[in-house]
């Protein structure tokens, strides 16, 4: 009898293993070595992350090799537009063996989940990442409700 239970248990172990492999397949998808790429303009725009921390939004975009003159940020209400141009940084007098890095211009627009206060936006460009801190408009901020 015990051996039977043991067998069943082993089978479940195997299934667990299989399930974790499957789970990982999805998280690793597009992240495997050699398949995904460092930077590329996807559908004409750089990759971004948006975080919501109650009073502010934080938007981070990957823009390697762009200086602040190459970037343009426009905002109206909850509509944000990010555009930029990446110029070739190929040096003069060199022969190119391999050119994988895109040199394009892009425009990407976002509809933010809430209105933001356009006067208090901070934009920082650091190590090829553009970080925007967007404070929400008063009406969109979370409010504490006191219980009477």
């Amino acid at each position: 009898m015990w051996t039977r239970v043991n067998d069943i248990d082993r089978m479940f172990d195997a299934m667990d293993l299989f399930r974790s492999r499957l789970n990982r397949m999805f998280t690793d998808y597009g992240g495997t070595y050699g398949e995904d790429v460092g930077w590329r303009v996807i559908n004409g725009s750089p990759r971004t992350n948006l975080f919501d921390s109650g009073d502010t939004f934080q938007l981070i975009a990957e823009v390697p090799g762009l200086s602040k003159e190459d970037l343009n940020i426009r905002i109206q209400g909850n509509y944000l537009e990010l555009s930029g141009t990446r110029n070739s940084d190929a040096p003069q007098g060199y022969k190119a063996h391999r050119v994988e890095r895109d040199t394009t211009s892009f425009t990407r627009s976002f509809t933010l989940p809430a209105d933001v206060n356009a006067d208090k936006i901070e934009a920082v460009l650091h190590d090829g990442l553009l970080t925007l801190v967007l404070p929400k408009a008063e009406a969109a901020k979370p409010k504490q409700i006191s219980i009477s």
Binding site: R24, N49, E62
Partner: protein
């Protein structure tokens, strides 16, 4: 009872070590002139402390990790913490001691100078 403990211990031993970060090959441009080979690699978000460049026996390895500083809950996320890694074979004639690298705006620029012996030379033809 003993069997049951055996099972639990075995299960614990079978835990797999998960790969910590997704691994990405950075995009590169490679240029060459008479004096050096120049490599540009895109690595947004990498600081110079998190990057290693290794030249060993004709093998050039670039590794870097990116850890993003974030706060709040994610509304959407298209990129994450990654490990950048890429390996190239380089000619033996590279002067390893003079290799220098600069990191600016998320782009690594790696200068690999050629050894004197490997530089092209013009041969003068002497008139008889």
């Amino acid at each position: 009872m003993k069997e049951a403990t055996d099972l639990t211990t075995r299960k614990e031993e079978m835990l797999e070590r998960r790969q910590e970060l997704p691994r990405i090959a950075p995009m590169v441009d490679i240029f060459e002139n008479d004096d050096e080979i120049l490599l540009h690699a895109d690595m947004p978000g990498v600081t110079k402390d998190n990057i290693t460049v290794n030249v060993d026996n004709g093998r050039l390895e670039i590794t870097a990790t990116r850890r993003l500083q974030t706060k709040g809950s994610s509304s959407w996320q298209e990129f994450s913490d990654v490990e950048y890694r890429r390996v190239f074979s380089v000619p033996q004639s590279i002067e390893v001691a003079k290799v220098n690298a600069e990191l600016k705006e998320g782009v690594l620029k790696l200068h690999l100078p050629k050894a004197e012996a490997a530089k092209p030379r013009t041969i003068k033809i002497s008139a008889v």
